[in-house]
Amino acid sequence: MTERSLVARIGDHVHGFLRDLHDQGLRVPVPRQRIFLQAIEAAGPRDATHLYWIGAATLTTSSEDLEVYSPTFERWFGEVTARPVRDQESPDDETPAPGGEGDEAPFTATFGGEAGLKAGSSERDRRPVFGPASEDDRAVLSLLRRELPSAVPTVRSRRRRPARRGPWIDVARICRESWRGHGEILTLRRRTRPRRQRRVLLLIDVSGSMKQHSSDYLRFAHAVVGRLERAEVFTFGTRLTRVTGPLRARDVDAAVGSLSDVVLDAEGGTRIGASLQEFLGNARYVTVARGALVIVLSDGLERGDCGPMQAAVRRLSLLSHRLLWWSPLACDPAYRPVTRGMSAVLGSVDALAGVRDLRTAYEQVQTLVRE
């Protein structure tokens, strides 16, 4: 059997397989499908396993694609002896809360009245409502947008740019200009490494105990995402959710309102340690935190064992440029971070500040400018 007749013979089967892949959600563009067929011709699959790997190399573009590809392949061509080991990039989403399910460890909050009792492990069923911004809110948001770019710490870029002053001679620009002046060098041009904003990472607690502050925090996040060059926002309650994309919508009410469909654990329980560890277990997210200004907006009321929270905050602190903890409880002058969670992480945090709404957030941003 020639290689071409091999493709011709299994043609219908292969096309059915490709259609099924599409139906299962793995949409392979036609050029890649053609490469798959060319690969079958070129390699002449020895057995199903070999065909499996030919398809894996040509039809998939990520390890997630293999999760669709493998079962579909198995349906059409039978089980293969070799299978890729799907490396787990992040800890299991279903990691039980510290202390285990149903563990109602005594909470030793000594400040905040009943605040600690609101921190539970359950997710509520109804959708959260992140309300629209008032006129006052909009005024503060406008101030925030103005202040934010200059408040963020900067880092010197590795990329050199033309500048009036700088330590490097810009030979390319000098030469280009000298062609116009018949070879005469009239001005010495220079290059420098400009400063640019550090990445900003916001981790926003949307659990039940933070219910009255969540909308304001998310509006603040909208200003951050809209105004800064590189910003990432995650929410956490009982799970971690990346919300940077939805927050890119231009209108603040539309952006924050759309989060009701995305942040499914809002106004529910709290698993700060597990959520932060989920963040740190994902290599892509860790890159976001590296060298960034990291701001955790949370009351720090962790239920159960505070060990994971302490370890996660310590690692976040080591990864970040600065780690700020903004808590609504700290707005009270009498507040002392003596709950088990906060007292454990305090040593890793660069600054603990009180932020309960947009106005207090604006005050903190102004503090950043002064620093």
């Binding site: 190399a57 799907r86 030469c175 070879g183 740190l280 892509r284």
Partner: protein, 285 residues
């Protein structure tokens, strides 16, 4: 490129690289179809090493472009040698002759991508850690990866006389563009199974007997099962094996040597503490 995948397998193995069937198929197809190969996987699973070994197997020059944030065309592709142009201009002026074309070949500084196109017998081009470069750089690569050609405005389009074997690696610190992925074959390199890892360790740490390699690999797999900040790759297990060998030669018992050199395997203080807490189950026979 060997026409037969088994020949490729043998030649890679002869160079000390033991690839599984998935990686072999991907590398073979990349060679046969002349397409770039995108390799992903956790650090230390041998992505970069594939290119090193392929260069030796194919007897081609290895050209490496290490990506980083801020990498631009002048560092990856070509740049004009401006000081040389200027000197030439001055010399022409002094000698009273015309300077001629200032954008000719002798003033061109070739960077890795252009060098790989011009390598007479083809090259192995390693574009390492593409996820570290800016996303604009990916867009810039599209013409190169699609047609193995580069357009220099002053000279024109340069096509590869012999297409380079291109390997891109990524640690998945960010999502790559679909347009880039579409132009490449793809393979995810997983951690190897115990049998393959034993063979790799024995190939990389000569003198290690079968039983010791098995004990090491069992421990490595148990450690990878812990909730580590960073799971050790093959590179780490090989260096651990060499470290254990060295300590054993100095008189330490094998288990003691494994404990003492665990820092070669895991590189975070928290991970070392975790391994220490599970020492009894990790290091037992």
């Amino acid at each position: 490129m060997p026409a037969d995948q088994d020949v490729l397998d043998r030649r890679l193995a002869a160079e000390g690289y033991l690839a599984d069937e998935g990686l072999l198929t991907a590398v073979h197809l990349a060679g046969v179809l002349g397409l770039p190969l995108l390799l992903e996987g956790e650090p230390g699973v041998g992505k970069t090493e594939v290119a090193n070994v392929l260069a030796r197997v194919l007897d081609r020059e290895l050209i490496r472009l290490q990506c980083y944030e801020g990498l631009d065309a002048s560092q990856a592709l070509y740049e004009w040698d401006y000081p040389k142009q200027l000197l030439s201009l001055r010399a022409a002026e002094v000698e009273g002759r015309g300077v001629g074309d200032l954008y000719r070949e002798e003033f061109l500084l070739q960077r890795p991508l252009l060098r790989s196109l011009r390598a007479a017998s083809g090259a192995v081009l390693l574009i390492d850690e593409i996820d570290r470069a800016d996303s604009e750089f990916e867009a810039f690569l599209l013409e190169f990866l699609g047609d193995f050609q580069i357009t220099i405005p002053e000279i024109g389009t340069i096509r590869a006389a012999s297409a380079p074997f291109v390997i891109l690696t990524s640690n998945r610190t960010r999502e790559l563009h679909d347009a880039l992925k579409r132009r490449c074959l793809y393979h995810w390199i997983p951690f190897p199974d115990a049998e393959r890892e034993r063979a790799i360790i024995r190939a990389q740490a000569p003198g290690l007997d079968e039983r010791s390699a098995a004990r090491l690999v069992t421990a490595v797999h148990r450690i990878r099962g812990l909730a580590l900040l960073k799971r050790p790759g093959i590179a780490e297990s090989v260096s651990w094996a060499r470290g254990v060998q060295a300590l054993a030669r100095e008189g330490s018992s094998w288990l003691e040597a494994m404990r003492r050199s665990a820092g070669l395997l895991v590189k975070h203080e928290e991970d070392l503490a975790l391994v220490g807490r599970h020492a009894a189950e990790v290091f037992r026979d």
